[in-house]
């Protein structure tokens, strides 16, 4: 259900990928979802944020990717990634970097703020440059926060509003995508505690909650 399907549908780039990238992608595909996902604590989550040169996936491009790992209740800046897509030398270099980023993510559930937006940029990019069709397990904070912290806000809100509601310092000026990941990671840590108290104990349950909230709040 959470697997990745490689689409060959005539994507020329995929066939022309260098050998090391192809090998790494095959490796990555062969990886299985960690079977230690019995609790949030044991699940390796990856918080993800993107940089784009505009808001519309149809017209604008993905220019950067940032990620940070949340595992065993700890956010470790040392376990972070940043990929600047404006800096790549050529198509091969881009493919290599994207693959390295993918290796870091592994098969972890992805914690994001607005999965539709993040996915709208990320998935086509992976398809185009790696010939991959990624089907991530989104943990979407934009919908989970109002679902689990309805006492604070029943409706989705901008990220900074959530940070302020929780007494976290949104910082001055624009946050870098990596700083954004850390801010999301903090919210996520609080969210997990709340989820536990409501009996939402596993990543699967959390994703269900995320989907349900998105559906419920969108259709009202």
């Amino acid at each position: 259900m959470f697997g990745i399907k490689k689409l060959f549908s005539g994507v020329a780039e995929a066939a022309s990928l260098p050998a090391d990238v192809r090998a790494a992608l095959t490796d990555w595909q062969a990886r299985v979802v960690d079977d230690l996902e019995s609790t949030h604590f044991l699940t390796r989550y990856v918080v993800l944020d993107i940089v784009t040169d505009g808001p519309d996936p149809e017209r604008h491009r993905l220019t950067g990717l940032a990620a940070t790992e949340v595992h065993r209740g700890v956010v470790a800046p040392a376990r972070s990634m940043y990929l600047d897509l404006l800096e790549v030398a050529d198509e091969e270099d881009r493919a290599r970097r994207l693959t390295a980023f993918l290796q870091f993510i592994g098969k972890a559930p992805l914690v994001v703020f607005y999965a539709a937006y993040v996915g709208g940029f990320l998935l086509p990019a992976l398809r185009q440059h790696l010939g991959l069709s990624l089907q991530p397990r989104w943990v979407d904070l934009a919908w989970l926060l109002p679902a689990l912290f309805a006492d604070k806000s029943h409706q989705p809100m901008p990220l900074d509003d959530w940070l302020q509601l929780f007494g976290l310092d949104p910082g001055e000026g624009r946050r870098s995508p990596n700083e954004n990941c850390l801010a999301l990671a903090r919210l996520f840590q609080m969210l997990v505690v709340r989820a536990h108290s409501k009996g939402v104990d596993t990543v699967a349950a959390l994703i269900e909650e995320s989907k349900a909230s998105s559906h419920l709040r969108r259709s009202h």
Partner: protein
């Protein structure tokens, strides 16, 4: 591929650390650390969330694995184990504060249980990284090993900066030498005959000439005071080259050195001039002792001279104002509370002595042994800017003299002295603890009996009196009388443990204003809501405890810091432990002085009421730590004297 992955991760790690670096650079001691160490901390530290009520690290958690720094929220520390779990052992930490420093440094389990009081985010640095950071960063090392001493130092620097503005209308000892003293002083080459050099000095009307080489680098100095010894008495012909008569290798400092450096050099080397050189080492100026004193406007020496030569009380009034001005300057220059209070006391002593001398011109007590005593803060050598009179007289009746008659004469004299002191700025004592009160103008035997009585029957009034009068110090007259009082007092007090226990109970009546949840209790004074009386709930706690230990250990000093130091030695209290206590007291005294200076109005007594909310974060934290030290010595006293409240 792996290499690229590592590169991306390095980039990510560096960027992710930015928010932690921003946080760190707002908090001591991290704000003083070099960027490299900060980045290192930020990259290694993990971010952890503790919901309210969760234990973060406790005595049962085994060897401490992390150093914790609170990012947001509140953490309660509670002493673990069977040791008296009273309100004494609970306190709370806020953002920017870290724990458990001692345990993680020593690699042992924590003695406290740390629990999140609110939802809390902490940075946690693994113990091995913590130790590496200590080795890497001298600032961090200092912070961890001298927890409060280092904070104190930073606070003092902040204060200096704060005062810089207030003192800007006058140059201070922190000014660079480039702007002080004489520019382009008279200089001659070493081969110049003495006659030519003297003529040049005479024409320029200066007292000194610098001898320089071809590149204007100083080789020597010749001053008017050298003339007698080196030329006249040495019978040197005036055709001699000046190099034969000059003082070679004169002391010089760079233009960027401060006036303070020059003062230090003069004091150390016993010289009156320091040469100033530019970046190339060429002579650019000269600064004299007089320049430096002019800089302070009021110099220590002048004040002493003015006091000692004052013809009447009016002249002393000016000198007393100068003492205050000089003390303010010293405070602004970051002189510590201990030195400053002693300094104020020393000059106030000089003022009082001169007042006594002036009044003695109209009273003759020749052939009579008597001594003027100082009590209270004056007796302890720890006066602040606002201080009233506490004094008395001890005397002996010579054979054939009538005691009542003599006392009458002494009282008349004392009344004039008390009035004079009031005139020069030491207000009359509201409680009438003054030498002109017949109750406190006593013979040696009367004083001894009085002391014995207070010690034998330690009722409330006796204990209150003990806290004032047992801190006596002779100021003028026959010092031996005071010594005899002291020996009597120590002997009596040591023979009556019950008295010391009563004093201990009394000393424990007031606790430092630390809250269980809030940092400080600010509602203890009904007429000053939101404020803390730093004397009543701060310094007095230390003073009271020190007095008891001094009496118990037979320490003759009256100064609180001395009392604590000396009795700690006798009672085998660890050095670093007592130093932390002394730092705590010093900081509270420092805040009192600062408050009295910044809030005091001329001619009015400053108070000791501070609003902790108005302190900067650093000062607030040190104050909290200082109160903890007060609580610590109180706990010790409680234990030592088995006081159960």
């Amino acid at each position: 591929m792996e290499k690229i992955g590592a590169m991306l991760q390095q980039d990510g790690q560096r960027r992710a650390a930015a928010s932690a670096v921003a946080f760190l650079s707002r908090h001591a001691p991290f704000n003083k650390m070099d960027p490299e160490s900060l980045q290192w901390f930020a990259e290694k530290a993990q971010i952890v969330f503790y919901p309210a009520g969760n234990l973060i690290v406790g005595a049962d958690s085994g060897t401490v694995r992390y150093f914790y720094l609170i990012e947001s929220g509140k953490v309660q520390a509670r002493q673990a184990g069977e040791v008296v779990v009273t309100e004494y052992s609970i306190l709370s930490h806020g953002p920017g504060e870290s724990f458990p420093i001692g345990a993680v440094t020593a690699g042992r389990p924590s003695t406290n249980d740390y629990t999140a009081l609110e939802d809390t985010f902490c940075y946690q640095l693994p113990a091995e990284d913590y130790l590496t950071l200590m080795a890497k960063s001298p600032e961090f090392n200092l912070f961890c090993t001298q927890y409060i001493a280092s904070l104190l130092d930073q606070s003092r620097r902040q204060l200096q900066a704060q005062f810089a503005q207030k003192a800007s209308e006058q140059q201070t000892l922190n000014s660079p030498l480039a702007g002080i003293g004489t520019r382009n002083p008279l200089a001659v080459l070493p081969e110049t005959p003495l006659r030519d050099a003297f003529q040049a000095m005479s024409q320029a009307n200066v007292g000194s000439v610098v001898v320089v080489d071809g590149e204007q680098k100083p080789m020597g100095i010749f001053t008017r005071s050298d003339l007698l010894d080196r030329v006249v008495l040495a019978e040197l012909p005036l055709t001699t080259a000046i190099r034969e008569a000059m003082s070679p290798s004169p002391t010089s400092l760079n233009e960027h050195a401060t006036a303070y450096d020059a003062m230090l050099a003069m004091a150390k080397e016993g010289i009156r001039h320091v040469l100033i050189t530019d970046h190339a080492g060429a002579l650019s100026g000269i600064v004299s002792e007089r320049d430096l004193f002019a800089l302070q406007r009021v110099g220590l020496r002048q004040i002493r001279q003015t006091i000692e030569a004052a013809p009447d009380v009016d002249a002393l009034k000016t000198a007393a104002a100068d003492v205050r001005q000089l003390s303010f300057n010293m405070l602004a220059q970051g002189i510590g509370a201990e030195q400053l209070t002693q300094f104020i006391s020393a000059l106030n002593d000089a003022l009082t002595r001169r007042v006594l001398q002036l009044n003695l011109e109209r009273h003759d007590f020749s052939g009579i042994d008597w001594c003027w005593l100082a009590f209270g803060s004056e007796g302890r050598d720890e006066q602040t800017f606002s201080t009233d009179q506490d004094n008395g007289i001890v005397f002996q009746v010579p054979p054939g003299e009538d005691q009542a008659e003599l006392k009458k004469r002494l009282l008349a004299f004392a009344l004039e002295v008390n009035k004079s002191l009031d005139q020069i700025g030491f207000p009359l004592c509201k409680g009438d603890i003054m030498a002109s009160n017949p109750q406190w103008c006593l013979t040696l035997d009367e004083w001894r009996n009085q002391f014995t009585e207070w010690i034998r029957v330690p009722e409330p009034v006796a204990l209150l009196n003990a806290s004032i009068f047992f801190d006596f110090r002779p100021l003028y007259g026959k010092v031996e009388l005071a010594d005899s009082m002291r020996r009597h007092l120590l002997h009596q007090a040591q023979a009556m443990p019950v008295f010391l226990q009563a004093m201990a109970r009394n000393a424990l009546d007031v606790a430092p204003p630390l809250g269980k949840i809030r940092d400080f209790l600010t509602d203890l004074e009904a007429d000053a809501p939101g404020k803390i009386d730093l004397k009543k709930y701060g310094s007095r706690i230390f003073v009271d405890v020190a007095r008891i230990y001094a009496l118990a250990a037979g320490v003759h000093s009256t100064n609180t810091l001395q009392r604590l130091r000396l009795s700690a030695q006798k009672m085998n209290i660890r050095g670093d432990e007592i130093n932390a206590v002394l730092d705590g007291l010093n900081f509270i005294q420092f805040l009192r002085l600062q408050h009295q200076y910044l809030n005091g109005e001329p001619g009015r007594q400053g108070d000791n009421l501070i609003d902790p909310e108005k302190l900067n974060e650093l000062d607030r934290r040190i104050l909290k730590e200082s109160f903890r030290q007060a609580r610590k010595i109180q706990s010790r006293l409680k234990l030592d004297y088995q006081v159960n409240h």
